[in-house]
């Protein structure tokens, strides 16, 4: 499988601030890749380096087989970018801006442009100053989805969109994936990432802490188990990978490292199981672990 993006040991500092301290990121061609991290983790800095807007201090960055700084313009023909906070020109209409970006990205499909404007319920005749936050995002989204870009770089693209439009956005991304496009999606909406992304990378304080498919990431975390047993539980405390064990009579609550789940299940069935609830880790838990770890490490 070819790689759309490979980043290896990326460093970027602004004066004394170290924004990126060894970031790694691999995005396969044709996948939707989630890019997660708490505020200030360096997501937008990384995206700007990928777009050749910032120059990397150190590390190896390849984008669609090119160098994002040196080959910026040639690469940008194949990229569409939507920032989290779109600003428009006060006296230009939304339609004018969409067509401007279409020209700047080497063409735009008029049919798809019309269809997207309708789906997003955007009025392209309004001037930039009169659009609300959500409608400014729509202008950029229509411009990006109507282009023929191979790679879409979306940096919190749905901020300000209502739930209905969020749904339209998700179906547009799915459509792009079906057409074989690659999407790098930086987002805080975990449900969005869970629905759309094949793989995710979580970064913290400028470096990558987790990367993989959601299933793989879940594997690294704990499953919550609540069980009602026929007899008193036996030997659970001695099993490796068990945390937060709480036994009240025949009722057991515990968390277990997902790869040790099997042994716990066997110990439970040995005592006879009356009911069992097992909850796989949500992305949110996965995420919160990194957030709170960060707070704790300070």
């Amino acid at each position: 499988m070819t790689k759309a993006i490979t980043v290896d040991g990326l460093h970027k500092s602004f004066g004394r601030t170290h924004a990126l301290t060894g970031l790694d990121l691999t995005v396969d061609t044709g996948e939707v890749h989630g890019f997660l991290g708490p505020n200030g983790a360096g997501k937008s800095t990384a995206v700007r380096v990928l777009l050749g807007l910032l120059r990397a201090d150190a590390g190896d960055v390849r984008l669609l087989g090119g160098d994002p700084w040196r080959d910026a313009v040639a690469l940008h023909r194949r990229i569409a970018y939507v920032p989290g906070d779109v600003t428009l020109w006060r006296n230009l209409s939304g339609g004018e801006v969409i067509d401007l970006y279409g020209r700047l990205r080497g063409g735009l499909d008029p049919g798809r442009r019309a269809e997207l404007i309708e789906r997003f319920e955007l009025d392209p005749t309004k001037k930039g100053r009169t659009y609300s936050k959500g409608n400014r995002q729509k202008v950029a989204l229509v411009a990006a989805f109507a282009s023929d870009a191979e790679l879409l770089v979306l940096d919190e693209p749905t901020s300000g969109l209502d739930p209905l439009m969020e749904g339209v956005f998700q179906s547009c991304v799915a459509q792009q994936r079906d057409r074989g496009r690659t999407v790098l999606l930086s987002s805080h909406l975990l449900s969005e990432v869970e629905t759309l992304c094949d793989r995710v990378s979580i970064i913290r304080a400028g470096r990558t802490v987790e990367t993989g498919s959601l299933a793989e990431l879940r594997h690294l975390t704990r499953t919550s188990v609540t069980a009602e047993l026929a007899g008193p539980p036996n030997g659970l405390a001695r099993l490796p990978g068990v945390h937060g064990l709480d036994i009240r009579g025949h009722q057991v609550r515990l968390q277990v490292d997902t790869d040790k789940f099997d042994a716990v299940l066997r110990a439970l069935t040995a005592s006879g199981v009356r009911s069992l609830i097992s909850t796989p880790p949500t992305l949110e838990e996965l995420f919160l672990r990194h957030y709170t770890d960060e707070a704790g490490s300070r």
Binding site: F14, G15, R48, L51, G52, L53, L54, R55, G65, G66, D67, R70, D71, A72, V73, A74, L75, H76, R77, I79, A80, Y81, V82, P83, D85, V86, T87, L88, W89, N91, L92, E96, L100, Y101, R103, L104, R105, G106, R129, A140, V153
Partner: protein, 528 residues
């Protein structure tokens, strides 16, 4: 992929974007400016119809250092030479101002607003934004040059002279476009980039004024150091000296080369002059404190510039009257104009008037800071707090009206310091300009409060006042027009008795305009 950099890719699309955005401002500004210059042939021609009258005017300039400081020397007594003298410096200055606004608007302002980030994610080379901005400036200046050349060639009877004047204007514009391009690489904010370039423009004018007040042929060193001095030395209609046009072109090209070297070497949104971190905790207590915090930097800069300008002009004052021509007729004009002390006073009064005109620019921009706070969406959250609209606006008004007093006082003190006299009279003379400055500030407030859509009319009023004050007097414009300018009604100090009646009247009018503005602001919807 080695050809992937293409630093100029997308320039055409960006140029189209710039021209589309400026579709109203650009033709209006360039049209009005070239019209002013071209119509000058008619007014100068009817005022100084005979060769004798024109020669008399040029002779009187030999003793009139203050008029030379304002407009520069005249290099001939033909109609074209007088039009150049009358309008040349003014038009060059206006072209420079237009160019610096255009260049910063399409470079640093785009980066600061965040729009450039999305543009640069498309097929836009790293040097394309700067190139498109400079091309926009080039189009504007070429249009100015062309319109002036075409408009004046007929009436003045010399296409060569008309071209020389057009080039003097257009090339000055391009020289300051180049400087603005550098400033836009150095600073992180568009405001600072414009301020830096405008300060250089002010310095260029002051140097030229200082040099021209001392000599009648622009041969003084300060004039030779100023780009505006070079523009003047092209000497349209009076044995054109094309080497000075080449010098201006060279300055433009050299500065553009520096800007090109800087751009594309830096990260987007970053600057070569790093911004320092601010305090971790703040002491800004309310809307007045906020207004002070937002405007104090500008006020400080203006005060320093006015003080320095005052010292410079003050130190020239005693010199202007010593330069008397040897022949009888200039001696006679010299006596008629009040001799030594009369001429010194006239010079100081002219300079005081100049400071007053420029202070009106400060007052207007300071009042309209409230407008940009509102349209930028920054006023809304403040006004959503327990802050009345009048209270909020009062902070900006206090800085505008009080700040005008402060900068004029700085100019007055500077003149006294430079001239070596007691501060009282010159301080008073400078402050006597206040009522007219306040009136224009009040007008801006009234427009902002009542008709926020038409707020740019405040700048039009300032522009008209500047044009009347600058090029009006020697044109002997009809009194009705001259009296449109509030400055025309003030006593000419020093050298004349103070007139309290117009001063009080203008102050009262200004207060009424402010009250109207505040009442309108309380009543209308906020804009975004």
């Amino acid at each position: 992929m080695t050809t992937g950099a293409r630093p100029l890719a997308g320039t055409g699309a960006l140029l189209g974007l710039a021209l589309r955005r400026d579709r109203a401002m650009l033709p209006l500004w360039a049209g009005l400016l070239s019209l002013t210059v071209v119509s000058g042939a008619g007014t100068v021609g009817s005022l100084y119809a005979t060769a004798a009258e024109r020669a008399d005017l040029v002779r009187s300039l030999a003793v009139n250092g203050s008029l030379r400081a304002m407009l520069g020397p005249a290099f001939g007594d033909s109609l074209g030479a007088l039009v150049s003298w009358r309008f040349g410096v003014f038009a060059a200055l206006a072209a420079a101002a237009l160019s610096l606004i255009l260049v910063v608007r399409h470079t640093r302002e785009e980066e600061e607003s965040g729009r450039q980030e999305m543009l640069s994610s498309a097929m836009v080379g790293r040097r394309a934004p700067l190139t498109a901005a400079l091309l926009t400036a080039l189009i504007a200046n070429t249009a100015l040059t062309g319109a002036i050349t075409a408009g004046l060639a007929g009436p003045t009877g010399s296409a060569t002279g008309a071209l020389a004047l057009g080039l003097a204007v257009g090339l000055t514009g391009m020289a300051f476009a180049g400087l603005a391009a550098i400033a836009a690489q150095l600073t992180e904010s568009a405001r600072a980039a414009k301020g830096l370039t405008a300060a250089a423009l002010g310095l260029a004018y002051a140097l030229r004024a200082a040099g021209d007040s001392a000599t009648a042929d622009g041969s003084a060193v300060p004039t030779r150091l100023s780009p505006l001095g070079w523009a003047e030395q092209i000497r349209p209609y009076a044995g054109e000296r094309w080497q000075f046009a080449a010098l201006l072109a060279l300055a433009a090209l050299a500065q553009i080369a520096v800007a090109y070297a800087l751009t594309g070497r830096r990260d987007i949104g970053m600057s070569f002059l790093p911004s320092r971190p601010g305090p971790a905790a703040g002491r800004i207590a309310g809307p007045t404190g906020l207004a002070w915090r937002l405007q104090r930097g500008a006020l400080l800069g203006w005060s320093a510039a006015f003080l320095a300008g005052g010292i410079a002009f003050g130190s020239l004052a005693s010199g202007v009257a010593t330069l008397v021509g040897e022949n009888e007729s200039t001696r006679e004009i010299f006596e008629r104009m009040g001799g030594q002390s009369g001429l010194t006073d006239a010079f100081l009064a002219s300079m005081t008037g100049l400071f007053g005109l420029v202070a009106a620019v400060y007052a207007t921009s300071s009042v309209l800071r409230a407008h940009s706070e509102e349209t930028g969406g920054r006023a809304e959250p403040v006004l959503a707090g327990p802050v009345g609209r009048a209270h909020w606006a009062a902070g900006h008004l206090a800085l505008a009206l009080g700040g005008s007093a402060l900068i004029l006082a700085a100019a007055g003190l500077g003149m006294a310091l430079g001239h070596g006299t007691a501060p009282g009279p010159l301080l008073g003379a400078a402050l006597s300009q206040l009522p007219a400055v306040w009136l224009l500030g009040g007008l801006a407030m009234a427009l902002y409060g009542v008709l926020p859509r038409a707020v740019m009319a405040a700048w039009a009023a300032v522009g008209l006042t500047l044009a009347i004050g600058w090029i009006g007097p020697a044109l002997r414009l009809p009194d009705a027009l001259l009296e449109l300018s509030p400055f025309g009604r003030l006593a000419k100090l020093p050298g004349n008795p103070m007139e309290w009646r117009p001063a009080l009247l203008l102050t009262a009018l200004a207060a009424a305009l402010v009250a109207v503005g505040l009442a309108g602001l309380r009543r209308r919807d906020l804009r975004n």
